[in-house]
């Protein structure tokens, strides 16, 4: 029976959202300029990374500070298999799963010895793994040149699907789709896939078991949950997404070096999920987008200074990280459970306040 004031049907909401996402790069391009479309691409990439780390930290409650290592592995696998470095040019759809699987394998390798560790001990061990991988990437240019050391690997092949080259502009229905626009759609596709997997995981037996482990590992084991396998699975799933994002990053940038995979990057991804709302998919995506765009938006502080004082006192490039740090502190002080917390966390926090 039709009601008098019907809520819009689901399909309408979905198609509006889809249209919005499809039009977004063009709106941004027209409104803010081409560099912001590039940032949009990066924001999607970070959304994939944050969703991957969210599985490990948000669902299973394992504080992982070396997540960037998997990102690096995915990127280097892509670079090795499709760049002039080894003279290999395997196609995109073959390389990406390879990188993701290798990252998953390393996820299990890292997870296995750390199963007994808890909390901050786990954090420092994962941090150590991350640093070890980075140092190896930095130094494995001798005696055999595997990673090309600090110079990194250059001229990585862009994404090519059959004869469709993403690095070239394409014309469609009178619109020009440049490389960064096309990359946006590719990344959007992957992000949606990762969101879908995350959503399905969240409501599955596995997802509930992860939450049980996060809340109380001993109790979870007592109820018959195989904590060892599930923790390893969490590491592997998180690492897979990290490896995937790494491959996309390598193809997008065309150049990678160990510098892109330092500890600060791991910390930033952790900030994204905590700031957005741990364990809550919309929150994590929101956090990723905000923290990717904020440092760039803060570049405009130069203009504000000129408007306010008539001259620039502090170089905006120097000022923006300061403001970024202030923003991190302020958000956490006013919204300790994150900007968009899940209902469960909001409830927990309300309990703890009493």
């Amino acid at each position: 029976m039709p009601s008098l004031c019907p809520t819009p049907p689901r399909w309408l909401a979905f198609s509006l959202l889809a249209a919005g996402l499809a039009a977004l790069p063009f709106l941004v391009d027209a409104g803010l300029g081409r560099s912001w479309v590039r940032l949009l691409d990066l924001a999607l990439l970070y959304a994939i990374l944050a969703l991957g780390l969210n599985i490990v930290v948000g669902y299973a409650g394992l504080l992982d500070l070396g997540y960037v290592a998997f990102y690096a592995l995915g990127a280097y696998v892509y670079a090795w298999l499709s760049s002039p470095h080894f003279g290999l040019h395997l196609p995109f759809w073959a390389v990406l799963p390879l990188g993701a699987s290798l990252a998953a394998l390393f996820g299990v390798l890292l997870g296995a010895p750390t199963l007994r560790l808890r909390g901050d001990y786990l954090a420092i061990v994962t941090l150590g793994f991350g640093e070890i991988i980075r140092i190896f990437l930095n130094n494995l240019n001798a005696p055999v040149n595997i990673t090309n050391g600090p110079q990194g690997i250059n001229l990585i092949d862009p994404v090519r699907l059959g004869s469709f080259d993403l690095s070239q502009p394409h014309e469609l229905l009178g619109y020009t789709f440049t490389s960064i626009h096309l990359t946006y759609y590719l990344f959007l596709l992957f992000t949606l896939g990762v969101i879908f997997i995350s959503m399905r995981l969240e409501d599955s037996r596995i997802g509930r078991a992860w939450v049980a482990i996060r809340e109380d590992e001993v109790a979870a084991a007592a109820t018959g949950i195989n904590t060892r396998n599930l923790k390893l699975l969490a590491f592997a799933m998180g690492a897979t997404f990290g490896g995937l994002a790494g491959g996309l990053f390598a193809s997008f940038q065309g150049f990678i070096s160990p510098e892109s995979f330092n500890l600060m990057e791991s910390i930033m991804i952790l900030c994204m999920i905590v700031l957005g709302g741990m364990g809550h998919i919309p929150g994590v995506i929101f956090g990723a987008v905000v923290l990717t765009l904020l440092p760039e938006a803060l570049r405009y502080t130069g203009d504000w200074q000129r408007e306010l004082f008539g001259r620039i006192y502090i170089d905006p490039a120097d000022l923006r990280m300061l403001l970024f740090g202030l923003a991190l502190v302020a958000v956490m002080l006013y919204r300790p459970a994150g900007l968009l917390p899940s209902t469960r966390r909001r409830r927990e926090f309300a309990d703890a306040q009493e």
Binding site: R118, D120, Y121, F129, P143, L263, L322, V329
Partner: protein, 309 residues
Amino acid sequence: MDIFLQQLINGLVLGSVYALVALGYTMVYGILELINFAHGEITMMGAMVALAVIGALALAAPGLPGVLVLGAGLAVAIPVCVALGLLIERVAYRPLRHAPRLAPLITAIGVSIILQNIAMLIWGKQYIPFPAILPQARHTVYGASITNVQIAILLLATGIMLTLILVVRKTRLGRAMRATAQSRQVASLMGVDVNRVIAATFAIGSALAAVAGVMVSAYYGLAHYYMGFLLGLKAFSAAVLGGIGNLAGAMLGGLLLGLIESFGAGYIGDLTGGFLGSNYQDVFAFFVLITVLVFRPSGLLGVRGGERA
């Protein structure tokens, strides 16, 4: 033999500095179960402030003896760092004491980014040299050399650590700190002013960090706005290695990490037949750290059973 002795000396000197910084991490962790990520930056601030004072004094009164100038630098750096530590605790950690566990970790990261950038705005991005105010005498012991600065660091660090142990074991404040670490609620029921104890912990940790910062910059002969990050990371690793929350553990962990690093740098090439050079010394350090934690998940001197509630 002389290489061994040399690396031993270098390792002990570096390790005692790590230990001083690690103590700051471990004291705060013992009481609040919070990784004070900004602690490394407090160390950096200590070095920077002291260097600024020393530089100004060396210009204003060139005749002054080096030890006096250094003392003046410390006398300014310590209060500044203590004030910073108290301010950070008050603003960034105290409001979040009942928040989800990772929230204070993020504010700590935010604070450390803020401190780094403030230091960069004040002192610039370049390396700041440590003025040559100290007599650079070298002594040779069985073929290994040790400088005055190294001897001073070793003695000072040992003295500070012994004092700290005495304070924690023998004084009223120390007893209050131990009680608060065991249980904040019960301690406050027994009449301990928990907020004051926590503030005192931050103050002591920050003072140690200031001294350690000056030591590091004197040892390497320079300071930099980014120096706190790696130093803090290593000191935190040292605290975890020894068993975080445990004072003796932090000292042991710091010394061990210093020794591992210096022996790693000295011998890693021989051990791997020249395949891995000294640029892998950090890999070696982290590898030892991971191995220890795999077999002793609560650190060397930590309480068995993992996290305390």
